[in-house]
Amino acid sequence: MLAGLYSLLSACWMVALDAVDVAFTEAAVGAGVSTVLMLMTLAVTARREKAPKFSFSAFLVVVVTGGFLIYGTFDMPAWGDPDAPVHQHVAPRYLNESYEEVGVPNVVTSVLASYRGYDTLGETVVIFTAGLGVMLLLRKRKKEDEL
C-alpha cells in the first residue's frame, strides 16, 4: 500500500521535473499494476514474516556493496551540471535535429523507437522473457490438476 502511494507521489514529482513520460509509466506500473501484484503475492504467500535471524555474512555483503555504491557516486558530475558528459555527447543532436530527421514532436519517442531502436527491441525481449518465466514458474498445468 505504501509502495503504491510512494509511486503515485514519485509520478507527481516527475511531472514537476517535466519528465512526463516517466511519470506516466510510474503511475501506470508502479502505482497501478505493481500494487495489485504485491497484494496478490501477499494473499498467495503467508501474511506474517518468519522471525528474522541476524546473519553476519549477509550484513557484511550489504555494507560492502553499499560502500562501493557510495564510493561510485563521488565520480559523478555535480547535480544539474550542464557540462556533464551526458549532456555533451549525443543529447544535443537528438534535441536539435530529431524533428528534421525523424519528424516526431515527442523527442522521447523518437529516441526510444528510432535512434535507440535496438535497445527498445532488447527491452521488449526482456519483458517477453519475464512473462515466459512467470508463466513457466507459476502457472498451474492441467495435468497437475488431474493427478
Binding site: 499494476v33 528510432s114 521488449t124 517477453f128 512473462g131 514458474l137
Partner: protein
Amino acid sequence: MRHHSILRAVTKFFLPYILLFALYTQFHGDYGPGGGFQAGVIFAAAIILYGLIFTPKLARRVVPYRAVYIFMALGILLYAGVGIATILLGGNYLDYNALNHHHPVHGQHLGILLVELGVGITVAAVVICIYYAFADRLES
C-alpha cells in the same frame, strides 16, 4: 464481489474509457507523452480491473490464455519484422528511412508506429499473463 453493486457499475462505466485511453496513448505517443509501453500497461490494467471486480474466470473468457500467449510473441515478431522489412527494402536493420524512399520522415513515422504497436502488444500480453498466473494460484 457479487454484492458490490457500486463497484461493479462504476467499473463497467469506466472500462471502455480506460481501453480507449490505452489506444490513445498508443497511437498519440508521437505527439504527447506515452507510447507502446505505457499503453500496454494501461490496457492490461483495464483487464486486471475487470478480473478483480468480476472474477478472473470471466476475465479469462474476455482474453483467453491462448490469445495472451499468441499476442506475447506477436508483438516481438512485429518489432523484429519491421527490422527485417527495412533490410529487404535496402536499409540497415531498423532503419525506418528505408520504409519510404521518397519521404524518409514518413518512413520514420510508419516505423515508429509499427514498432510501438509491437511493444504495446507484448507488454499488454505479458502483464495480463502475470496477473493470470497469480490469479490461478489464488483460486486454488
